[in-house]
């Protein structure tokens, strides 16, 4: 087993503090299919960490398990020292974790502003609507538009902006750049940098490790429902061949 597996509940290698989120021995099932086979990793406060891996490695399922959206799960997920594995999804959200799903989950019958205002405030330190509009000027222009009438990039901005308002400390972003134009990807990168500077902690699922390399502190690699490796971002360049092998690119 690579060393990445042993860091849970201990100071995180490269981060030097007790983790804000500590996942250990996480198993998850969809019906009869056993998807996660003991996932272990941790994230320190203020870090941006990615989960890399091929399709079907269990990255999205890991995010959904943290969020309590997978019915059958076992193991331990500790957030800010509190065990959350048995909690329902709404309680996990209220404890300060926010999830931005790959399909974005914009409510089509609400307009942009209503979508932004919908999530409940779960803690202090969230952005105001004006601050969200400052991050994403496109949204301000389109605040009265229905959710259905947005482009893919605008939907993604809205999905991210919506959870920045809540005051959640840990943001789970599932493939935020998928299918978006390079100029929008740049905008999302700048957003991640800015919210990281404001102290948010981010767990990012990415297929595009070139994008991940521009924003992340560390990378966990997943294969077959397990975390198999951890690569600090500084060492990514020297490990390119290994990453290519993992991702099959």
């Amino acid at each position: 087993m690579p060393e990445a597996v042993r860091i849970v509940d201990e100071p995180i290698a490269g981060a030097g503090t007790v983790p804000l989120l500590a996942v250990s021995g996480l198993n998850a099932w969809y019906g009869e299919s056993h998807i996660l086979h003991g996932v272990d990793f941790g994230i320190a406060e203020g870090e941006v960490v990615t989960l890399l891996g091929r399709n079907g490695a269990g990255k999205t399922t890991t995010l959904k398990s943290i969020m309590g959206m997978v019915e059958r799960r076992q193991g331990s997920i500790r957030f800010a020292g509190t065990e959350t594995i048995g909690l329902p999804s709404n309680r996990i959200a209220r404890s300060g974790i926010a999830f931005c799903p790959e399909e974005r989950g914009i409510f089509a019958s609400l307009n942009v502003k209503e979508n932004l205002l919908l999530p409940p405030q779960v803690g202090p330190g969230g952005l105001s609507v004006d601050q969200v509009f400052e991050l994403f000027p496109n949204l301000k222009e389109r605040q009265a538009s229905q959710g259905t009438k947005l482009s893919g990039g605008e939907q993604q901005m809205l999905a991210i902006g919506r959870i920045l308002r809540t005051g959640a400390r840990l943001l789970l972003l599932d493939e935020p750049t998928e299918g978006l134009a390079p100029v929008i990807v740049q905008q999302i990168r700048r957003t991640i940098e800015r919210i990281k500077a404001q102290g948010f902690t981010i767990l990012l699922v990415e297929q595009n490790f070139r994008f991940a390399a521009t924003v992340a502190d560390r990378h966990y690699v997943m294969e077959n429902g397990r975390v198999v490796d951890m690569i600090p971002n500084a060492e990514l360049e020297s490990n390119l061949q290994k990453v290519h092998d993992y991702l099959g690119v």
Partner: protein, 323 residues
């Protein structure tokens, strides 16, 4: 600069759509105020109570996504309780209506707690089963007078001063109740609570993962809908001076589905239009007897196949304004 202009245009657009609804509301009020001088008031009062019933039903399915197939239990329960209170206990009409409405609200809490645990067809079947239990209870229990119903319910003196046996006085009393219920529903669907309901209807898992206990929202929507359906039922009992088994029968639950679908599910004005069309058909085509049911069935099929948004839904779509 361009972006500010566009933002301003967006805001105006939003206000424009609400302004549209204000115009529609004003037209509706003017029509209802003038209507009793042209049409038979009892027919109009019947249509107004059914319109309120359909609006209450629409609050649940159109905005909460919950198809209840037992809403007659709230209409009928409030009718019986109101009629009994007015006739046997001598309640003033306003208190009799409040009492009947309260009874439906209580019934809504109990049945809602059981029903909202399931969705879709299971929710519909649970509400139907509960409504059937309530129906058989009213068939058996003595105070409802069985097949005869509670007859000759006195309309009484509103606030001890206004004689409701005068048709126009009763009509405007019913109109005020209808408008109050309608405006309350309008307020609910445009409130933050209403927006959470719409979010739940669209994507319940997402609403939960944003931190909402969706069961509580669904229960509150169910109870509000039951209460307003009760308000319609209690008022109807005073209009006809009768509370009978017709109002708790499952066909009544089906009729309100038809009214809402015909007018436009999830629209503000659709249920009112749907209710008026169905009640008009029942009244003016009464000579055709059972054929009315066949015609209604044909309309239902045509509505589902050809214009699924309903009359007002299609009109709003055509005008590009939500109505």
């Amino acid at each position: 600069m361009a972006s500010e202009d566009r933002a301003a245009a967006g805001v105006t657009r939003e206000e424009g759509s609400l302004g549209h609804q204000r115009i529609a509301f004003t037209v509706m009020v003017v029509l209802f105020v003038l209507a009793p001088f042209v049409f038979y008031p009892v027919f109009l009062m019947k249509a107004l109570t059914f319109a309120l019933f359909a609006c209450a039903f629409n609050l649940l399915i159109g905005f909460g996504g919950l198809l209840s197939f037992g809403h007659a239990m709230f209409l009928g329960t409030a009718g019986y309780v109101c009629a009994h209170a007015a006739k046997e206990w001598g309640f003033n009409p306003e208190f009799a209506i409040l009492f009947g409405t309260g009874a439906s609200a209580l019934l809504g809490i109990v049945t809602g707690l059981l029903a909202i645990r399931r969705q879709g067809i299971y929710f519909a079947m649970i509400t139907l089963a509960l409504a059937q239990m309530i129906f058989f209870f009213y068939v058996q229990t003595p105070f409802t007078k069985g097949e005869d119903g509670i007859q000759a319910v006195p309309r009484g003196m509103l606030f001890g001063a206004i004689d409701l046996s005068r048709p126009l006085a009763m009509y405007f009393f019913v109109l005020v109740i209808f408008l109050a219920g309608f405006l309350l529903i309008y307020r609910i669907i445009h409130s933050p609570f209403g927006q959470v309901l719409k979010a739940i209807r669209e994507n319940e898992p997402r609403a939960i993962s944003l931190g909402y206990r969706t069961d509580q929202y669904k229960l509150l929507a169910f109870v509000l809908s039951a209460t307003l359906a009760g308000l319609a039922g209690a008022t109807k009992a005073l209009v006809f001076q009768l509370a009978s088994l017709t109002d708790v029968h499952w066909t009544m639950s089906g009729e309100v589905v038809l009214m809402t679908l015909l007018g436009g599910l999830g629209t503000v004005f659709g249920p009112v239009v749907g209710a008026f069309i169905i009640i008009t058909m029942e009244n003016y085509l009464a000579a055709l007897g059972q054929w009315v049911t066949v015609i209604q069935g044909a309309i239902f099929v045509a509505c589902v196949l050809a214009f699924r948004r309903g009359i007002i839904g299609e009109l709003g779509h055509w005008l590009k304004k939500p109505l």
